[in-house]
Amino acid sequence: MKTKMITLCVNGRDHRFEAPVNRTLLQALRDDLRLTETKYGCGTGECGGCTVLMDGKDSICSCLTLAVEAEGRHITTVGGMTRDGELHPIQIAFIEEGAIQCGYCTPGMIMKTASILANNPNPSEEEIRKGLDGNVCRCTGYEKIVQAVQRASRMLDTSQIQKSGGMGQ
């Protein structure tokens, strides 16, 4: 397989590495950069466990995106949500609402939530449920996850999201 030097900007930091051109963003994050917080659940874009944020607003399945396609874009993983050890309000909401059980879907859920709220700071319950569709959780029945998104929406200073043009770094 042909290889290529790739530069990825993840959580505000540039990483340069050589990888096969067919390397998915998920593989690059987990195997090349050792950022294992983004999870493999199916490898085919059906579970959302590998969801990351692109340019602060769009959620993508990193298993369906080639690493080379992500060059020049800003990628945020759940590891980039915490700043100076301070949890992001979405993370606090997930913890306190009991929206985390086994935690395997959590990184993807939090990044999907970041995308929902970056695009729509005050979503209705229906909009939240539609927004989360595609991210699978087998533990919670989604009830507490929906409540966590509602709580995060209340906690976030919406003007801040709009000013910074998105979530994450």
Binding site: T36, Y40, V78, G98, I100, G103, V136, C139, G141
Partner: protein, 783 residues
């Protein structure tokens, strides 16, 4: 409630912060120096075939391949991934007919996904490439997908020890007539005014835990086999691996990684044998095996599908005089849990109502489907689907309100529990039914939806259940716990039960904090298999009930030692002393006191005055210990109410609301209890509406992906209302009862009954898909 106590409070999970930041380490996240990658090569094209020739020559040549292992390159011992053999005395195991019929790599494929050989390589990509170069010549054999097919006299025999391919039936020596129950069913049935008889079909549903099975194994330089695994039962997998690879337990070290969901999928061994076999082939180098989702699906166990025949005899006033039932399940390709599920399915049935007489038969047959095994509820959702519907059919025909009937005929305190001879110690089902009925608006909606016309038809239904709190009395029930007091009086609790994500370690810490009278943040829970004693694992809804009991005992042991030492130091009798606010003091003279910290500190930093020979305290670090066999079981009950709407033109069922009232005894952490009920409801609704693993005629799985196997998404889930009914159980530690496995049980019956209420048709086949609804409507010409 005191500010200083933790039991009963919504404490977020201990590891929630780690999980929310992505810091938790799951097995696939592990990266060890010199690590190799293992790939299990599976048979994808056949469900039943002999391997005539296995050509590994091209695979070995791929640069970066370290070793390729065929069936003869690994142990020739058989094993059983299930652990029931460890849970019963040997004689009973023999009576139940437990057998070991699995091999690490096989030359006889019994289901799609059976493992043929293993590749060990420097990278995952190289292992994949080499796997593609393995050439296998197969001789296809006839494929059997149902018990009916494999039970035919001319069918291929899966195992000579199991004639007729019947892997299990209730053994005659224990269960005369191969039946579980009481009374003379034939005599009682003959007296019935009304008999309702139906055959129900249950689907093969998959746990779908979000973390695909992954492991690392390392046969290290000291001769220890280390295995990093997200198993639900480390202390049972350890002896299984030790036996398989003929090593003493001290040389098999299991390391528990964060568990990305279990639900029974990680009960017993999964791919630990293959991973460890690869590690043993490359001593000194760790081997990681990560399974793909589609592989996890075809090669790991599921819920038992099958056919459930049921006949209920009732008198005009509703008296249930007789119940006759037979669950014939599909064991799949290997024995695994064959002696477990067919029995418990009947226990949940016998445990529910006061039948005058009951006869339950349970058997299971080999087929070429993926093996069936443990899935949250362990036979209870299957029973619930059949039993709760047949009860409603009888009620409808007799014009009796289904809630009233259940209130009158459910078992309660003093009645035999799900295990005949062990009575229920508490039962709050009446309160569950009352509060649930009120919350859903039962009476009003039941009447309002009775006669509907139009496209959208609504219905309300009820389903009740009972379950277990632990494995006692049928199986071994044992948890060991150590509580070490540090010299500053902070605490380390060592045990080996797994937290699957339900929050059991958080709950155990809450219990420990209250028992010791200490803040939670000065207690650490250590899960280390070398250090921890035995535990039968996280299953059977037992971790809070039994693990909590063990924690209480071990903490009480600490308190006893503290008082013993304070008595010596203060010169006061032990009976005079008590502990409060981390002080041991005399009841009648509270100035006479000694701090817990002082006792712990001087126990460690103990000095002897050379002149007087006196010490500054009682020497020895304090350690509390419990090897806990509870000797009791406090089953929970629950009532679920479902409101649904069916579109009779499309057949689509929209679940509007579930009200789940659960008899929890005492909720240690209400938020965690709600989470169990809500998540369980998701699995129940999937089983009743959308989920089924399907096979084509060749026995190949048609839907081993989340696109083709439909779980309900956030948009499909109804409003979930949970009601925690807290009537403390008199024999349970803290009055608590279980919840985990109860979750996916009675929303099954409630939803099925609600659909039946809306349409006036009972659906005997799950999942109740739009196709099945439209078919039934066209047959009954509902307009």
């Amino acid at each position: 409630m005191s500010e200083k106590t933790f039991v009963g409070k919504n404490i977020p999970k201990l590891d929630a912060r780690e999980k929310a930041t992505g810091q938790s380490i799951y097995a696939a996240d592990l990266q060890l120096p010199g690590m190799l990658y293992g790939k299990i090569v599976r048979c994808w094209d056949h469900a039943h075939a002999k391997v005539l020739n296995l050509d590994l020559s091209e695979a070995v040549k791929v640069p970066g391949v370290v070793k390729v292992l065929g069936p003869k390159d690994v142990t020739q011992k058989n094993y059983n991934t299930g652990v029931l053999d460890l849970m019963v005395p040997e004689e009973l195991g023999q009576l139940l007919g437990d057998i070991e019929d699995q091999r690490i790599f096989t030359d006889h494929v019994r289901h799609q996904g059976d493992a043929i050989c293993g590749i060990i390589a420097e990278s995952e990509e190289i292992a994949e490439i080499a796997a593609g170069k393995v050439k296998v010549l197969y001789e296809p054999l006839p494929v059997y997908l149902s018990a009916e097919e494999s039970a035919r006299p001319d069918a291929f025999q899966f195992d000579e020890r199991k004639p007729g391919n019947r892997a299990f039936q209730l053994p005659e020596q224990m269960f005369p007539g191969n039946a579980y129950g009481w009374g003379d069913v034939d005599v009682e049935m003959a007296k019935a005014d009304l008999i309702v008889e139906e055959t129900f079909y249950l689907p093969k549903v998959k746990q779908c835990q979000m973390e695909p099975h992954a492991y690392v194994a390392h046969y290290d330089q000291t001769g220890r086999l280390n295995c990093w695994t997200s198993t639900q039962m480390p202390k049972c997998v350890q002896p299984k691996l030790a036996r398989l690879f003929e090593l003493p337990l001290s040389r098999v070290n299991l390391v528990s990684t964060t568990i990305g969901g279990g639900f029974g999928a990680r009960l017993g061994m999964v791919f630990e044998p293959e991973t460890c076999a690869m590690a043993l082939a490359v001593p000194g180098r760790p081997v990681k095996v990560q399974s793909a989702r589609e592989e996890d699906w075809v090669a790991s166990e599921s819920r038992h599908p099958g056919k459930y025949w049921m006949k209920l005899g009732v008198m005009k006033d509703g008296t249930p005089v007789a119940m006759d039932a037979h669950f014939t399940s599909n064991a799949g390709a290997y024995f695994t849990h064959s002696s477990g599920v067919p029995f418990t399915t009947g226990s949940w049935l016998t445990g529910m109502y006061k039948f005058g007489a009951i006869r339950y038969k349970g058997d299971t047959f080999y087929t070429n489907q993926a093996p069936s095994g443990a899935f949250r509820g362990y036979g209870n959702p299957q029973t619930n689907f059949a039993l709760e519907q047949i009860v409603d059919q009888a009620c409808n025909q007799l014009n009796i309100d289904p809630v009233d009937w259940r209130k009158k005929w459910h078992k309660g305190v003093g009645d035999d529990g799900w295990c005949i001879g062990v009575p229920y110690s508490s039962c709050a089902l009446d309160e569950c039914l009352e509060r649930g009925a009120e919350a859903i608006g039962w009476k009003e909606k039941r009447a309002r939806y009775a006669n509907q016309s139009g496209t959208l038809r609504r219905g309300v239904g009820v389903g009740v259940m009972t379950h277990t709190s632990g494995a006692m009395p049928m199986l071994l029930e044992h948890t060991t716990c150590t509580v070490k007091m540090n010299e500053d009086a902070s605490v380390v609790i060592t045990l080996s039960c797994s937290d699957l994500g339900q929050g059991s370690h958080t709950v155990l810490k809450q219990i420990a904090a209250d028992t010791l009278g200490m803040p939670m943040d000065e207690i650490h829970i250590l899960v280390n298999m070398d250090a921890a004693g035995f535990d039968i694992g996280s299953h059977a809804s037992r971790t809070t009930y039994v693990g909590g009991g063990a924690v209480i005992k071990a903490c009480e042991d600490v308190k006893r030692q503290l008082i013993e030492r304070a008595a010596i130091r203060l010169g006061i009798s032990e009976e005079e002393l008590e502990i409060e606010d981390r002080q041991v003091f005399a009841r009648h003279d509270r100035d006479k006191r000694l701090s817990v910290k002082e006792i712990c500190h001087t126990g460690v930093y103990n000095f002897t005055n050379p002149e007087t020979g006196e010490t500054n305290g009682v020497p020895g670090q304090i350690k509390g210990y419990a090897s806990h066999f509870p000797g009791h079981n406090s089953p929970p009950f629950g009532a679920c109410f479902a409101e649904i709407e069916v579109d009779i033109e499309t057949g689509v069922v929209n679940v509007l609301e579930l009200v789940i009232a659960h008899d929890i005894g005492r909720a240690i952490n209400p938020m965690a209890v709600e989470g169990q009920l809500q998540g369980g409801a998701h699995q129940a609704l999937g089983m009743i509406l959308t989920e089924e693993t399907c096979y084509d005629k060749k026995g190949l799985c048609r839907n081993n992906s989340f696109t083709d196997y439909k779980m309900l998404g956030p948009v499909d889930m109804p409003k979930l209302t949970t009601i925690l009914v807290e009537q403390p159980d008199p024999i349970a530690p803290l009055g608590m009862k279980s919840v985990g496995e109860a979750g996916p049980v009675n929303p099954v019956g409630a939803t099925a009954n609600a659909i039946s209420h809306a349409l006036g048709i009972m659906f005997t086949e799950a999942p109740i898909t739009p196709e099945r609804i439209l078919q039934a409507l066209s047959e009954q010409k509902v307009a």
